[in-house]
């Protein structure tokens, strides 16, 4: 079927192609599920949040995205954990410091640190589960087919859609500046000094591109009508519609309960 070729895209996305149950669920159902889980993490104790994170990792592995999960989790959680350990476990004295020879650690601080880390881990893993099993093109079609305004759909999808041209432009600027003698391989001071020479043209050109892209979109009658015709919209089963409604009701109720109690 022509028009569903998103998974063949060569862009630098987190999406991992597959045929798992999660891949086949309508993107809007997954998006609402993600929002509900995010709201739920604020209700759960640390052990519950750890269970959510663990479940998300297991689902991610079953969906074939295990490698992406491990890489992103290590890259994100390791520096955060170290920083929180130093601040809450070692530096902030809560009056319960236990001496371990080289360093003194606060058990209360560690407990606090664990709570933050598992909450971030839960939010991160469910977000990863969404982006690794949902191609932005399919998300865009799902939004369009549910009557979401084209402008809002574009706002959601454009950061992902424009990732590749932005990367290409950034590489071209880097190469051009290096050819003019900009030192990008020296010490960190030299690199820091070189940073504006890379950033300023990138931002300037991105702004100029915005103008051009606005004209292109205008020329193709973008937003001329409140809705777009969608070809090959993702399947939306009746149970998914009901699940979304249920979750959308549950989210404010849960937030209310947390604020009330």
């Amino acid at each position: 079927m022509i028009g569903q070729g998103g998974p063949n895209s060569g862009r630098t996305l987190l999406f991992v192609p597959g045929r798992s149950v999660l891949h086949r669920i309508n993107p809007l159902t997954k998006l609402v599920g993600l929002l509900w889980l995010a709201a739920t993490t604020f209700m759960l104790p640390p052990a519950g949040m750890a269970a959510v994170a663990l479940a998300a990792i297991i689902f991610g592995v079953l969906a074939g995205a295990g490698a992406t999960f491990v890489k992103r989790l290590i890259l994100t959680l390791l520096p955060l954990t170290i920083a929180l350990f130093v601040v809450h476990g070692v530096l902030i004295d809560r009056g319960d410091m236990v001496d371990h020879g080289l360093i003194s650690v606060s058990p209360e601080g560690l407990k606090y640190m664990f709570g933050i880390v598992v909450r971030v881990a839960a939010l991160l893993t469910v977000s990863l589960l969404f982006v690794t099993t949902t191609h932005p093109a399919i998300l865009l079609k799902a939004l369009d087919s549910h009557g979401i305004s084209p402008g809002i759909a574009y706002l959601i999808a454009s950061p992902l859609l424009l990732l590749e041209p932005f990367s290409v432009r950034a590489r071209a600027i880097r190469d051009a500046q290096q050819a003019r003698g900009l030192d990008l391989n020296g010490r960190w001071v030299a690199r820091a000094k070189a940073f504006p020479a890379l950033l300023i043209p990138l931002v300037t050109l991105a702004l100029s591109d915005l103008d051009q892209r606005a004209s292109v979109l205008d020329g193709r009658a973008f937003r001329a009508r409140p809705f777009r015709t969608v070809l090959d919209a993702p399947l939306d089963r009746p149970w998914e519609t009901w699940a979304r409604r249920l979750l959308l009701v549950a989210i404010p109720v849960q937030i209310g309960v947390v604020l009330w109690l």
Partner: protein, 282 residues
């Protein structure tokens, strides 16, 4: 009524900017194949934007004179009707992409989707444009990973699928190697005959391949307007394109039997040698 009617248009960027277009008058009929030729800074791209209605409304309103499309000024057109009247393809292919599609096919159907057409109508139009622009083998590819030539063909397909009355092409082959340029020009030449084509270029060869009417633009004004064989004889043509390019154009026109009639004057050194049976003694 002319498809595009430009009346005494004077325009500059910004309130105090110098005039880029100076008192310009031009009329373009439906179905015409027109080349507007000029050097760097002659005002080609600005004029192309005017003809395509691409300039922001305040800029249009700050100008003198008017550009009418089917008798109505661009600011009076709504986006749907404008998109169905004129489509624009610019110089840099990557900048012509909507940024809204992950595949070539999705890029092509993006415009018709905005028009609110039925899915069947969109598919029919897309298939037609894909075949005309020879993109069938690329439909699943990411538009941003295509070559410049392929992206330009995609831009043209995305414009054609809107079923416009006129296509404005601003130096569409500017960055191409000769082979890719000739291939694209062949495809442009093969576009439906009732489609008005307005080609902006600084070279004579693409214009000769596509257009039946030439307009020379210099310093924001029109210096010559007429048949190719007439316009290339204008003194400004040699200043603009150089003697070798004008000679080559004259040769191509003569091969098609139009210029310079039945005259046997040589146009190249090789022809002179053949005509006079050797190199004349000095």
């Amino acid at each position: 009524m002319a498809l595009i009617d430009i009346k005494n248009l004077t325009f500059g960027y910004g309130a105090k900017g110098p005039a880029v277009l100076k008192g310009l008058n031009l009329s373009i009929e439906s179905g015409e194949r027109l080349a507007i030729l000029g050097g760097n800074g002659s005002g080609k791209t600005t004029l192309a934007h005017w003809i395509a209605g691409w300039l922001p409304r305040p800029a249009m309103e700050a100008s003198q004179g008017e550009v009418l499309a089917r008798g109505k000024a661009w600011p009076e057109w709504n986006a749907l009707d404008r998109a169905a009247t004129v489509q624009f393809v610019g110089q840099i292919p990557m900048q012509q992409l909507s940024g809204f599609a992950f595949t070539v096919y999705d890029e092509i159907v993006f415009g018709p989707g905005n028009l609110g057409l039925s899915a069947d109508e969109i598919r029919t139009r897309a298939d037609w444009a894909i075949d005309i622009c020879n993109l069938r083998h690329l439909v699943y590819r990411d538009p941003f990973t295509l070559s410049g030539g392929e992206q330009q063909r995609l831009s043209i397909a995305a414009a054609l699928v809107m079923n416009p009355k006129a296509l404005v092409l601003d130096e569409p082959t500017g960055n191409f190697d000769p082979e890719s340029r000739d291939n694209l020009l062949e495809q442009i030449k093969g576009l439906p005959r009732d489609l008005t084509i307005i080609l902006f270029d600084m070279a004579l060869k693409p214009a000769l391949a596509v257009a039946e009417r030439f307009v020379l633009l210099d310093d924001g004004g029109i210096v010559a307007d007429g048949l190719p064989e007439e316009v290339i004889q204008h003194p400004a043509a040699i200043d603009m394109f150089g003697l070798p390019a004008v000679t080559e154009a004259a040769l191509l026109i003569r091969e098609s039997g139009k210029f310079p009639g039945k005259a046997r004057l040589p146009l190249t050194f090789d022809q002179a040698v053949r005509l006079f049976g050797g190199v004349p003694a000095c």
